[in-house]
Symmetry: C2
Subunit: 191 residues, 2 copies
């Protein structure tokens, strides 16, 4: 029993995979329509332009972030659990199919992206940093993390390590990402 937007959600799901795997300029409407067994025009019905599709994908990432960070909050509210939940999500995603963080992908492609996508990508990054800053700040106050300087600086550093290491792991093997995570924990005084 398929809802009336079944195709639409299948398009979003596949396009998301393709964006994460190949970047915004690395996939086409054909790459979506062929596996789904529909025609290009069907995709244009749901997303008139590729920009519309791109914006929908970024908003999907923002929703995932919101859902998962809310999850982390609820599961104890412990800052360690929250950070480790995010780290686990990144490790699992990479190990499944070498998925890397969408923010790095959007940053690399940024100057080729339609304007609306650029704006929504900025929102995504801001939301991520805001959440991670809160987690680290609360964890330091509770004596669970140890670091100097403003929490927002540490948040950017932590996010950057995870993002960058997953990228390097594509080129050098998954072990490099595991080791970077271990080092990250050491640098938070947790090892």
């Amino acid at each position: 029993m398929r809802s009336r937007t079944d195709t639409r959600s299948k398009i979003v799901e596949l396009a998301q995979q393709l964006l994460l795997e190949r970047g915004y300029n690395g996939f086409s409407y054909q790459d979506i329509s062929k596996p789904l067994g529909v025609k290009n025009a069907a995709i244009h019905y749901h997303f008139p332009t590729k920009e519309d599709l791109g914006v929908a994908l970024i908003n999907e990432f923002r929703e995932i972030l919101h859902t998962r960070t809310t999850d982390f909050m609820q599961s104890g509210g412990n800052p360690v659990n929250q950070l480790e939940g995010y780290i686990g999500f990144i490790l699992d995603s990479f190990k499944r199919d070498k998925t890397i963080c969408p923010m790095g992908i959007l940053a690399v492609d940024l100057f080729t992206l339609p304007e609306k996508m650029q704006i929504h990508a900025q929102l995504l990054v801001n939301e991520m940093i805001r959440w991670l800053t809160r987690v680290l700040d609360a964890g330091r106050d509770a004596g669970l993390f140890f670091f100097n300087g403003p929490a927002v600086d540490k948040a950017v550093a932590v996010k950057s390590v995870l993002q960058g290491a997953a990228q390097l792991a594509r080129l050098n093997g998954a072990g490099i990402l595991d080791n970077a995570v271990v080092q990250l924990r050491r640098d938070l005084g947790r090892a």
Copy 2:
């Protein structure tokens, strides 16, 4: 007085800028030939396929890395100077024209790249990690850096921070990169 490969080197120079700015799938032969005032066929003469051009670009990055790390070595051989030289290079590049590290770009585009490019990209990353590991290890032995765990783990973490933070800075402003660098120094016990 132009050498017989003047056009060739101009192609490489411009293509490098384009790759760093837009990713491998974000520029075309036209983007190179038009500004240079030559025809597409002229580029195909020097680089029969885009793969050939791409490999040449990666090898250029490898040469730059080799030249600059040799520089750092010679200018005192001090591990702090070596690391700070690399950091300064990244900061300057970003502030000039929002240039980010080619390794992140190649990682994002990896599964769309011709085979030879993928292989050369792996070499580039391996060489980078090897150099940075040596610098950090020597610095720790000399009591200049402070960190726990294998130097190679810290090298990956340091490289990842710089790479990831420059990407986030494209979306959030240059300040975020500066702050990540400050945090990086703190986490090396240097602030």
